[in-house]
Point group: D2
Chain length 337, copies 4
């Protein structure tokens, strides 16, 4: 941490800051410039926030030097982490595709979609049983019944399952059915849920909050990692900006940025990242070109009658076309699908 | 809902949209302009999302006509709702002040702060026992012990208590100690928690998510209201923008906007809304001038040693000065404090 | 400037950065921590951007220590600057009100509005002759004819005039008619225009760009100041955020932040800051409560037929009510109107 | 346009809105729903803004039906526009690469960089002679001398030139040297400049403002087109968001969105879109994968000593590697480079 003093800070104020730093167990390193004095805080600053120093008299601001995350950092774990699920490895040169309906709606719907996903070469089946919905009047998911349908599809088509868990008390239940637990964007900083997920041994895919920074995403991963669960994947799914022509702005920069900051696999969600099915394939291609380790997309056999997210769902034929399209791009960057 | 067709939409496409609208139980109303046809969807559109129509062939976009919330709307409840807590009424011409430490840290700290709050004329004591923290390495709150200390201060100083609840399974416990339950900004769309809060009879203050629109805040309130709890207050606490000179951007516009859209009381949080104690008093004054029904601020007797949020906490003397400052502004807008 | 090295930076990389710093004429100050080395750049860093160091091998990032502005800074000019215009002083305890139509449309319109502004106690008449419009198909202003009408109103009602100038070649012309030149939000970083404005001796009001930071606003002021024009006022007029319930988000925090960073007067524009006339008065009150030195609002006698910005214009009676409303708030913060 | 009335709007209010619509020369079409009445405005609504109706008594809001742009719209010009410059066609299946230094600094620098661009297969040479800089203390470009150096490089290496023009009075001068005029992001809504550019016959590349929506970018293009210059290209160069790990957020979604809304060619600028040279190649690949018609990147032989934007400049060897990398991706989407 660097503490930057105000232009007119007095020597007493500087001395008080030095004393405060030392009382916290750090060493202080004073450097007096022509216009400003700055004080380095030497030691592991991670448990302390810059704001902690900003209220001391004469301080203008404080700036972190270290990233606040450690277990998630590539600094301490230079090689890529690989998450293995029933023989599928995520985080290698093979790009993994997760696909399926937004919500599980019926036995027929799940089976038909799973068949289409399998046939087109998808690797993992996605589907929501517990659904976070903005409106209390919207369809909230089939719950346990939905989990059972996903299990049935899993066995019939030999596809691992990823599904969302929304609250700490459901973690144990959902973990009995799912191969990967998904933490949704709105729950990325639901710390009680992150804590609960950290204590089980099940792979988890953590979706970036729609207005969360890359650093906050990595801190959410740090929560899970620090409670003992090391099988964490990150998912870029679009952020909220001033632009209204798409539902979200897919942050393509975040893919190479995350790959350089962390060893965890990075998945792209072009369905939520755009909100429109016509944009899903070009953005899926872009994500693979930028270095994503996997793609998660919504597929529905009858999106006109989907109970949620129809507008961003691909029909099976479009999904098959997307698969061959991203396969070519993957090869152009020396990967496979 | 209005469905806007593409420029070159065919008559078959238009007919299919009309048929789809009618199959959902709505009436369709077609209006053919020179460049675009538009189709009105007549009926209560609330359970349907505009995206639902946007995937039909020939559709450009769909626009809501009705607000998606109903119980929270002033349209159906024109007079102000007043939330009563132990003889204190929130939502009247009297501006209510909630104050106290970010985190409960010790018996001495709570008692000393509560005394200062009471003496300066504060009405409600705030304090966190369960703390949502961005870092797993930061202080996470005293938990149950913190609740007990709050209860002690409550009885000694005759101050109702507001404290945060972070997960559905803690609702019953926290409700035994608190007079008002706070839902934090990061949990504004934690629907499992909103559902649980909706089923108890305890006032709740819902903080706007830093990435949430005014409409989404009202939809979160709708969740609580629709599950049976009518004593809901809203809190503007700053949103995330591109500006970095303050921790958040306090959305002063949201105060009169909320007062016109909803009958629920609106509280302002200038501590989180700015992140810097020097800015708390001017923004508290601004919030009262703009029509806030209450103010919630962080007060700490020794902010240099606070375990969280010291930088935005007022010392007791600054808090007393803020109280007299907002009292004068309240009078200038025909209110009291 | 502080240069923060990567975790695994080699001693050669560190030496090369030190050498690079010294070659630029600065002193380098190395501090080796446990996880990261950091190098202080001692000297006036203003002409150098942090990015300049970020491409050197082994560098993670660079952080400014000094504000990039100097003439605009309160550090070097602690007392408030007062801008005097025909006997009116801006930047004192008296809050100045500028009011008038968005666009000058006709002689009758200007005269009628000017009379209303004068009668209600407004101090300065605003009105646009050259109009920046998002659409090439919208009314673009009366140009020179508009300037002449403003001069006529100026003389008849003894009200100084503020009007916008949009391009460098119009500066001389507009300066012959206006008492204050306005730089619009879209031109805040039109550096050719800032340069031209800096070379004349005429007060200027610089509006914050809708997505410009406080620091960028101060850098725009620095352009004008550094070219020799010291009579600069700043105007907060709302920023662009994700929120759509208002046209812009008025950044109330920016008012006390600017007052602490700079000696220049700060004006608030609640008309553009909200985009809705119903919100103008509460936000004007809030701005005064937060410390604004002045308010600029749009007033129109017949907003239903205004050629631009009708939705955010106050009618004369509403304007008069706003004046008495902000007068009471000004008194509550020991100022006058 | 659709005018949505308030819940409690009276029949008199509705009648007044209808009358107002008709007085503007439109037809009004009333539709009375259970909760809200809505009124369609029939006719070419482009010159009118929704705000125009929002101040009428009883109106809640107004929503555009038509896009406000027409000449730029694919609706009226379904086939792709191709911009031809000295035998190079932009907007075909061949992806065009523009490359060169941020600023022209010296004869040697331009010649050396131009040689590297040519050798690696770049098609157009970029370089700034007039530089928009945030700080008045930073290097402002060589001006006319820079243009002459660009012309020299143009002739020596047979590379067309793209360079920025910053103010209306420089348009004629810059047009004598440049093959393509660039309008920078900060000038995207400098309407005086757009007007001047519209009146000459020279291709122009319009960069999206960092705070501008896709619709506003198309409206800026409409300005140029409506004044008679039809050779317009658009450039996505990153937008400003809350994320701070990159200088800007490259809006990858904007590429397919623009390709569907307009017939104009779309160029991607991954240098400004990321601000870091390590990210330029992955984002260039992503842009090509998403459908960009061209890429513009900063190349510098000695970025450590560049006078601007060194951090985002590629060295010649990295540029050559980028060229072969995007060539492979282009082929994967059935294009060439």
């Amino acid at each position: 941490m660097i503490v930057i003093m105000k232009h007119h800070a007095t020597t007493q104020e500087i001395a008080a800051v030095v004393q405060h730093i030392e009382a916290l167990g750090f060493k202080a390193h004073l450097s007096q410039g022509e216009e400003r004095s700055i004080i380095g805080v030497i030691g592991d600053e991670r448990p302390v926030e810059p704001e902690h120093f900003e209220l001391l008299a004469g301080v203008e601001r404080a700036v972190r030097i270290l990233h606040p995350f450690k277990l998630a950092s590539r600094d301490f774990h230079p090689e890529d982490s690989i998450v293995k699920i029933n023989g599928i490895s995520i985080g290698t040169s093979k790009v993994i595709v997760m696909a399926g309906p937004c919500s599980v709606e019926s036995r027929e719907q799940v089976m038909e979609t799973a068949a289409a996903v399998k046939q087109a070469g998808g690797h993992i089946l996605r589907g929501g049983a517990f659904k976070p919905r903005t409106s209390p009047y919207a369809f909230q998911g089939l719950g346990l019944k939905g989990l059972e349908l996903l299990r049935e599809a899993r066995e019939e088509f030999d596809l691992p399952i990823i599904t969302e868990v929304m609250s700490p008390q459901e973690v144990t239940l959902v973990a009995q059915y799912a191969d990967i637990l998904q933490i949704g964007a709105r729950n990325m900083q639901n710390f009680a849920l992150l804590h609960a997920i950290g204590e089980i041994q099940k792979p988890v895919m953590l979706k970036r909050g729609m207005m969360s920074t890359v650093e906050e995403l990595l801190m959410a991963a740090e929560y899970v990692l620090s409670h003992g669960n090391s099988r964490v994947m990150l998912c870029e799914r679009g952020i909220r900006t001033f632009e209204t022509s798409t539902r979200n702005t897919f942050d393509i920069n975040a893919i190479p940025v995350l790959k350089s900051l962390t060893h965890l696999p990075v998945i792209a969600d072009p369905s939520h990242g755009t909100g429109k099915w016509e944009l899903v394939t070009p953005i899926a291609r872009a994500a693979v070109a930028a270095g994503a380790d996997g793609v998660i997309v919504e597929v529905h056999c009858d999106p006109e009658h989907a109970m949620s997210d129809g507008a961003q769902s691909l029909k099976p034929d479009k999904f098959a076309a997307m698969m061959s399209s991203i396969r070519r791009v993957a090869e152009a960057v020396d990967r496979t699908v």
